[in-house]
């Protein structure tokens, strides 16, 4: 606690300062500061995320706008002059797209898919986990059995199947617009079980606690209890799985792209860029594969490292 005197003139500022100070003094921040790997990871993650979010402002070219591309600029090596006289810091790919800009825009797609899919998995998993853990009995048995079955099939297989169904269900001419949502749905659906398991466990612990009993005595609606009492108390581990799930979702998107069921090739994600670049592994255009691959590794690795650190930092027993 701070012992700053609360001056009546600037109560808001004072509160803010104290909260910021509290954060700086907190154990989490302390464990953050003590881990150089985590600091590095968070800086890299931050740079990559900012780069992706502000791609339209930062990227030297717009690789997603076909009208600005010239095929003859294709395969230009890093920092050499292209056919139309442009310079590409990381070279250009087989469509004349600037690899650097493609990475920026591609990270955007990857991060979006990753975030959205993880959110989806999280909402679904947390919801089902809460219900299973709180109500128990048949609900629990049913939800957890489904989760078991789902866990036994690798996410990629599930995503492939869902993709297949979507292809069959959605009219052909709307499929491309829907592709990214199908991808999000597929990856999300493949990953909910982790959340459900963790939340169920945590909920079963919380359910026993007396503050829940206190609310039940009042006759508070069980769903309100779940939402307002239990949920905030089980979010810690969810955050950890969420982070690691984000990295996983990004990788899964890449793998799906490798299997040819991903985002449209005109709006490539990091995974699609790697799939494309992979074809040039033996042909000398190393930059088409190398830069997106490094970006993907950095992204997944830094997010994973952050998740790892978060897991330890949030676990009081490991401090």
């Amino acid at each position: 606690m701070t012992d700053l005197p609360h001056s009546p003139e600037q109560p808001v500022v004072a509160a803010k300062v104290s909260r910021w100070k509290m954060f700086l003094a907190s154990d989490i921040f302390w464990s953050y500061r003590r881990s150089p790997v985590t600091i590095l990871a968070s800086i890299i993650a931050l740079i990559l995320v900012l780069m992706a979010v502000f791609a339209p402002l930062l990227a030297p070219y717009d690789p997603f706008n076909p009208a600005t591309l010239n095929l003859m600029d294709g395969m230009t090596a890093p920092n050499t002059e292209s056919y139309t006289g442009k310079y590409f810091a990381f070279g250009s790919d087989n469509q004349g797209r600037d690899v650097l800009s493609s990475i920026m825009y591609g990270s955007r797609v990857s991060l979006f898919v990753g975030f959205a899919a993880t959110m989806f998995a999280m909402v679904m998993g947390v919801g089902l986990g809460l219900v299973a853990g709180y109500f128990g009995g048949l609900w629990d048995a049913f939800i957890m059995r489904v989760a078991d079955v789902q866990l036994s099939f690798p996410a990629i297989l599930i995503a492939l199947l869902i993709f297949g169904v979507a292809r069959g269900v959605i009219p052909a001419n709307q499929q491309e617009g829907a592709a990214i949502w199908v991808l999000i749905f597929a990856i999300g659906l493949a990953n909910w079980a982790q959340f459900a398991r963790t939340v169920r466990g945590a909920t079963m612990v919380e359910r026993q606690k007396d503050y829940v009993a206190a609310a039940r005595i009042l006759g508070v609606n069980p769903f309100l209890i779940l939402l307002r009492h239990v949920l905030p108390n089980v979010l810690g581990p969810v955050l950890v799985i969420g982070t690691i799930g984000l990295a996983l979702a990004i990788i899964e998107e890449a793998t799906l792209s490798y299997l040819g069921v991903g985002v449209p090739p005109t709006q490539p994600s990091l995974g699609t860029l790697i799939r494309i670049g992979q074809q040039f592994l033996f042909s000398g255009e190393w930059w088409i594969l190398l830069f997106p691959a490094i970006t993907l590794i950095l992204l997944a690795l830094s997010v994973n490292l952050l998740g790892d650190w978060l897991r330890d930092a949030l676990n009081p027993k490991l401090r």
Partner: protein, 546 residues
């Protein structure tokens, strides 16, 4: 003069944290002579366990001994390298932990764990070690030890497991035994037996015992000398008799007052109404609760038949308006189960609960009445407040839910009022529970209970998680509120002193059956049931302390 077995000199244990240093043990010194039992008492967090850990060399990171000396039979041991210290453990210093349920590895048989320990320290063959293990178990009071040696821990009861733990601690015949709360997880009746075993072992083997506990009663029964700790320091030390009769420090006085007394009569509450009055405010009639064991969802291990366990069996009593009914009984006797049925958390298998004439399990109207009139205060002030909610929201939840106050200003006013009533500053409204001490939290919990303006409050062990020093304040508060609002209490406690102090009538539960019920003084002074007598006998009589 003989050399002390253990000699602790100016011991300091520090826990350095990133922005502070926490001193868990602050400059303590004491000796233990051969064959002597020295009790270490003090409230929770006083540093008792830490002292024990320091002696055996098992302080957890980041804690460390900052200064001081620990001598075992004159040999300095605190500065030995880890490998050498490890050799002392089990061999020369034995240790008994508080919780018999978690001290044994669940995956190995008792025998295996014993033999392993014995062979680590003594040059015996497998056969000889097994024989010794059986002897040790017999000595520790396990009947038919030879048959039971190959059982797994979960196949033993808590008391038996604690005996096994003791057997493990003395397996190699150590010179010093550190017993850290060896009985606090056990029933009163079992507790007495364990203490007996410990004392016998001590006299038979001539070992010195350091007995750590927060229970003055246990000390009074067992120890020769005692050390009183408070906030990491030793505040008083001397023979048990001296300290109990002539405590010098105010803290020691409080501790001694917390020893359950059955002799004194301070409550003054007249033993009035007969036990079964149909006009009583709260009436419990023929309450039964069954639990299915081992059943559950189909993912669970398959069982051909589900066993039914009757946790509460035909319990009836009644409480007069504005009075307190005390419910006592050992752990697992069904006290909490009763409380939960009364407040509506679990449905009774059979029986009726009437509050002011409304059947609280009748659904509809009865249930609505119950929500308004019945509230509960829980044992653990740490778990009973949602850590993510602000104090104001916690206290306001009942009034909001029940629609007593909805308007923001009104709610705030009432919350402030309630905080005043439980002697807390209304400015704490914006804080979170973790910013409060245990006693303060319990006050917040009481404020929440009062928030719905109830008439009947069920208190399940409201003070057992609190330090003796705080316990009295909370009890005083409860009594004051009872006077002020005419509240009716059901007070559940295993602390007989508390019950005697607070209640006008008492019920004794044993294995789910209400073995005795009636006015407090009648029961305490003239118990009828065997079980009640045993319960009262287990309480140490301070006047008899040598």
């Amino acid at each position: 003069m003989t050399e002390p077995v253990l000699s602790v000199k100016n011991l300091i244990v520090d826990f350095p944290f990133h922005n502070t240093n926490f001193r868990a043990v602050n400059d303590i010194s004491f000796d233990i002579m051969p064959g002597e039992v020295v009790g270490v008492v003090g409230e929770s967090g006083a540093g008792k366990s830490m002292t024990g850990s320091a002696v055996i060399g098992l302080i957890e990171r980041p804690g460390r001994i900052t200064s001081g000396e620990i001598l075992l039979k004159g040999q300095r041991i605190d500065n030995l390298p880890e490998a050498d210290r490890a050799k002392l453990r089990g061999k020369r210093i034995g240790m008994v932990f508080q919780d018999p349920l978690t001290s044994l590895n669940p995956l190995y048989t008792i025998g295996r764990q014993l033999i392993e320990t014995i062979r680590t320290h003594l040059p015996l063959s497998e056969e000889q070690a097994r024989q010794r293990a059986i002897d040790l178990l017999t000595e520790a009071g396990i009947p038919k030890a030879a048959d039971r040696i190959d059982a797994y821990p979960h196949q033993f009861s808590g008391g038996m497991r604690q005996r096994v733990v003791i057997a493990l601690a003395i397996a190699a015949g150590p010179e010093l035994i550190i017993a850290d709360e060896p009985t606090s997880a056990l029933d009163v009746s079992v507790q007495a037996q364990i203490i007996k075993v410990l004392k016998e072992l001590c006299s038979n083997h001539g070992a010195a015992v350091m007995l750590i506990t927060h229970d003055m009663g246990v000390i009074a029964q067992t120890a020769d000398r005692m050390v009183v700790m408070h906030q990491g320091k030793i505040v008083e030390t001397g023979t048990v008799g001296d300290i109990i009769r002539r405590p010098r420090e105010p803290y020691t006085v409080k501790l001694i007052n917390s020893i359950p007394t059955i002799a004194s009569d301070r409550s003054g509450a007249p033993a009035s109404a007969p036990a079964n009055d149909d006009g009583a405010f709260v009436q419990i009639k023929g309450l039964v609760r069954d639990f299915e064991l081992g059943g559950g969802s189909f993912t669970k291990v398959f069982k051909s038949k589900t066993e039914i366990f009757r946790a509460v069996s035909d319990v009836s009593f009644s409480i007069q308006k504005g009075k307190t009914y005390g419910l006592v009984g050992e752990s697992g006797s069904g006290k909490s189960t009763c409380a939960k049925m009364i407040v509506g958390l679990i449905r009774p298998t059979e029986g009726k609960i009437l509050v002011d004439g409304h059947d609280v399990w009748a659904g509809g109207a009865g249930e609505r009445e119950r929500r308004k009139r019945v509230q509960m205060i829980f044992q653990d002030p740490y778990a009973s407040l949602n850590p993510r909610w602000r104090v104001a929201d916690i206290i306001a939840e009942p009034m909001r839910t029940l629609g007593i106050a909805t308007n923001k200003g009104e709610v705030e006013g009432r919350v402030a009022d309630l905080l005043n009533k439980v002697r807390l500053d209304p400015s704490v409204m914006r804080k979170f529970p973790h910013e409060f001490s245990g006693g303060q939290r319990q006050r917040i919990a009481i404020a929440r209970a009062l928030s719905s303006q109830p008439e009947f409050i069920v208190c399940d062990e409201p003070t057992s998680a609190l330090d003796v020093s705080v316990q009295a304040q909370v009890l005083d508060l409860m009594r004051a509120l009872q006077d002020e609002f005419g509240l009716t209490y059901l007070l559940i406690s295993h602390n007989l002193a508390v019950v005697r102090q607070m209640s006008s009538a008492v019920g004794v539960l044993h294995n789910g059956v209400l073995v005795e019920s009636g006015p407090t003084d009648d029961i305490f002074d003239n118990p009828q049931a065997d079980y009640t007598r045993m319960l009262l006998d287990a309480v140490p009589d301070i006047s008899k302390v040598a």
